[in-house]
């Protein structure tokens, strides 16, 4: 390196060696980041609150549906009991007597009855609106 080049190097170092941010740059960056973090924290809290609200509404709706299903099932049970009570004589004549006399297989009769009850219960519990959610 000759004297000219050495001199040039020195001048270039002098020109660019001071290149830096103004004082307080790091503080400004940290303040900006802190403000963004606070905004993000508020947004996260808001989203969390919305999520909790939706979850609570869903929980209440499911509880209501459970009550309504229970009442429907009980109502159907009571209605079926009342019908059986009301038509006990007829049922005895058409259902019990043939079974007792061996005209109808008791297992077949029991299976048909249970299937009918299960179908009725399934019909009560199934809600087409659930498919939409």
């Amino acid at each position: 390196m000759n004297i000219h080049e050495g001199r040039l190097e020195g001048r270039l170092r002098g020109l660019f060696g001071t290149l830096d941010a103004r004082a307080g740059f790091e503080g400004r960056v940290m303040a900006r980041v802190a403000s963004l973090a606070a905004q993000q924290g508020a947004m996260r809290a808001d989203l969390r609150a919305q999520f909790e609200r939706r979850r609570e509404l869903t929980r209440r709706r499911l509880r209501r549906e459970a009550w309504s299903n229970g009442i429907s099932t009980a109502g159907i049970g009571v209605a079926a009991g009342a019908l059986a009570w009301h038509y006990a004589e007829l049922i005895g004549r058409w259902l019990i007597e043939p079974i007792a006399s061996g005209q109808v297989d008791p297992m077949l009769a029991a299976s048909v009855s249970l299937t009918a009850v299960a179908a009725a219960v399934a019909l009560v519990l199934w809600r087409p609106s659930r498919l939409l959610r």
Binding site: H4, E5, R7, L8, E9, R11, L12, R13, G14, L15, F16, G17, T18, L19, D20, A21, R22, F25, E26, R28, V29, M30, R32, V33, L36
Partner: protein
Amino acid sequence: MPADDAIVQLIQAGRAEQAFERLVPAYRRRVIGLAYSVLRDRAAAEDLAQEVFVKLWRVLPRYDGRARLSTWIYAITRNAAISALRTRRRSVSLSDPAVLAEVENREAAPDSGPGDAALWRHVEALPEKQRQAVILYYQDERAVDEVAAMMGMPVNTVKTHLHRARASLTAALAAAGEEFP
């Protein structure tokens, strides 16, 4: 780089906030220098550096260590600077060129004595990559390989840029009789 190792360890330990607090002072001058070498405007470089650090704060927890930390930061800074430069050029084309030239001349040079205004003009006249290499190399007496990492180009290419820039500047100063002010 030991500072980088500590920062990477903190990120991998899930302590990105602490990593960021160490990263800002460690990379402040380099990010400012790289932004300035592209934008050639001190205030704009500082604004851009602030944006880069905010972006780094956002993405730091996702740093996966595949690239070196410095390479990753330089790439983010370079992309941001090039994007800012494009935006500035678009807005410049819509404004009064005379006013803008004056504003740019006033803001462009780094803090320097009156004797260096001439040198700054010669640096300004260098081709873009040569000028960028000169600014980054002389800002912190960096090693050529670090300047190469900052510019995202091979070490030998940077050496060539620096060699040509020095030759051009020596010739320009000699021609203007400004070498020994």
